[in-house]
Symmetry: C3
Subunit: 206 residues, 3 copies
C-alpha cells in the first residue's frame, strides 16, 4: 500500500468514526444522558465494534486505545452533537442514511481485511466484518438499555456481511486488494441503500 492510500484509509476510518459517534450522541441525548453519558455512548457506538473485533482476533490492545486520535474523534463528535444539536437534528434523513451506509461499508471492509491479516479463515473474517460494522451499535443500544436495533433493522447487518463476503471472495479469486475492497464496500453500500429505498426485509418466522 502506498503511503498516500494508507493515509486516505486512515482519514476515511476517522470519518466513519465521527459519523457513528454523532449518531450515538443523538441517541444518548434522546435518552436524556448528561455530557459524560453522551461521550461514553459516542465512544461505544463508534469504536465498540472495532474494539470487540480486536479482542477476538488477538490484536489487543485495540487500535482505539493505541492511537489517541480515535477516541479524540469520537469525543469531538459527542461534543459537537451537544453544542450543535439543533443543527444535527436538521440534517436531512437521506443524507444521514447515506453517511451511515458509507460508514457501515467502510467498517465492514476494514474489519474483514484486518481479520484476514491476522490469519483468520474466510468465514471468521466475514463475521469480523459484521462485528466491526454493527458491534458499536449493539454496545450503544445495550448501554441505553434498548433492544439492539440491528437485530430488527431491515438488511443492515446483512449488508455488512454481504460486503465483507464480496471482499473476501474477491481476494480468494485473485483480485488485487484495492479492487476487492472497493467492490465489497460498494456491494454493502448499494445493498443497504436499496434496502432502505425499496423497504426490503429478510424473511422471518412470524
Amino acid at each position: 500500500m502506498t503511503p498516500r492510500s494508507s493515509r486516505l484509509i486512515f482519514v476515511l476510518d476517522l470519518a466513519g468514526t465521527f459519523v457513528f459517534a454523532l449518531q450515538g450522541a443523538g441517541r444518548a441525548m434522546d435518552a436524556r444522558l448528561d455530557l459524560l453519558g453522551v461521550l461514553v455512548i459516542s465512544f461505544a457506538a463508534s469504536l465498540g465494534g472495532g474494539i470487540l473485533r480486536d479482542l477476538l482476533i488477538d490484536a489487543a490492545p485495540p487500535q482505539a486505545l493505541r492511537d489517541w486520535r480515535y477516541p479524540a474523534t469520537a469525543f469531538a463528535a459527542g461534543v459537537a452533537a451537544l453544542l450543535f444539536h439543533e443543527v444535527v437534528h436538521r440534517i436531512p434523513g437521506a443524507l444521514l442514511t447515506g453517511l451511515d451506509a458509507a460508514g457501515l461499508a467502510l467498517f465492514a471492509i476494514a474489519g474483514a481485511q484486518k481479520a484476514l491479516g491476522y490469519g483468520l479463515n474466510a468465514l471468521a473474517a466475514i463475521l469480523m466484518g459484521g462485528v466491526t460494522a454493527v458491534g458499536g451499535g449493539v454496545a450503544r443500544d445495550l448501554l441505553l438499555n434498548q433492544a439492539p436495533s440491528v437485530l430488527y433493522a431491515d438488511i443492515y447487518a446483512t449488508a455488512a456481511l454481504a460486503g465483507a463476503l464480496v471482499m473476501v471472495a474477491g481476494r480468494r479469486l485473485g483480485l488485487a486488494n484495492g479492487w476487492a475492497a472497493g467492490l465489497g464496500g460498494l456491494a454493502c453500500f448499494a445493498l443497504r441503500i436499496a434496502a432502505v429505498w425499496f423497504h426490503w426485509n429478510l424473511p422471518s418466522a412470524a
Copy 2:
C-alpha cells in the same frame, strides 16, 4: 487422548452447540426477529460462552473463530429452527430439558478442562466451566433485552459450577482425566435434572 476419543469429544461439542443454537433460535423467533437476527442469536447463544472463556484464559482467537465448523453448526441450527419451527415447537419439553442439561454438562466440563490446560487455578477453572456453560445464554438474553434467565433459573448455573467442581476435584485427587470428566458431567446432568424434577431452588433473601 486417543484420536477416537478426541473425535468423540469434538462431535459432542458440535452437538451441544446445535442444541443451544436451536434453543436460542426459538427465543429469537418468539421475539419476532428476522432471519439475520435469528442467526445472530443462534451464534451468540451457542458460542458466546466459549468465546468469553477463550478471551478470559488468553486463548484468542477463540475456538469458535478458528474452526469454521462451530459457526456453521450454529447457523445450521438457526436455519433449521426457521424452516421447521412447527416441528421444533412440538418437541416434548422433557426431551428439551434433557438435551439442554446434557449440553450444560458438556460445556461446563469442556470449559473447566480447557482453563486447567491454560494453567488457571482451580477456582478460576470452575468459574470458567460456569462461563462456558451459561455465558451463551446470558449473551442471548442481553441481546434480546431480557433479564438473563440464568440468574433466576432454579439451579442451572449452579449445576454447571458443581459439575466443574467435581471434575477439578477429581483431577486433584488423582483420577484419570476421562473419569474426572465423566463424573463431573454426570454430577452436573443429574443435579440439573433433579432440580427440574423436584423443583429445587436455592435460598434467597426475599
Copy 3:
C-alpha cells in the same frame, strides 16, 4: 515499591472489591435473585471493571482469575450481604457514599497505573482508569437488565476519569509514583463527595 506498601495496596484493592461486591449484592437482592444470582452480581460488580481493563490492555488472564483471593473476596461479600442483610440495610447512607467514593478512587488510580505499566498512552490510561472504576457497575446493571446508573449519576464516572487524569498528569510532570497516585485518588474522592454534597451535575442537552 517496598513490600510493605505493595502489601497495603493489595489489602486496599481487596477492600474496594468487598465494598463494590456488597453494593452489588444489595442490588441483586432487591431484584429478588437467589443465592447464585447474588454471587454472580457480586462478582461482576466488583471485578467486572478490572477484567474488562485487563482484556483491553492485553493482560489476560485477568488478575481476578490469576489470584483466587479476588473472587473469594467478592463471594464472601455476597454471602455476608445475604446473611446480614438487615445489618447491611442499616448502614448509614453517608458511610456507604464515602466507602463507595473511596473504592471508586482506588480502582480508578490502580486501573490507570496498570495501563501505563502496559505501555498505553496517556489518554488510553485515563480511559482505563474509568473502565476499572465503573465497568463493574455497568456489568451489574446490564445483568440486572437495568439502564447503567453510571450514565445517569451525577459526576461519578467523571470523578474517576478526573482522578486518573490528575494521576497521569502528575507522573508526566515528574511526580513520584506514590505522590501522583495519592493526589489523583484524593481528587477523585473529593470531587465525588462534593458532587453528592452539593448536588453537582454535568450539563446536558435537555
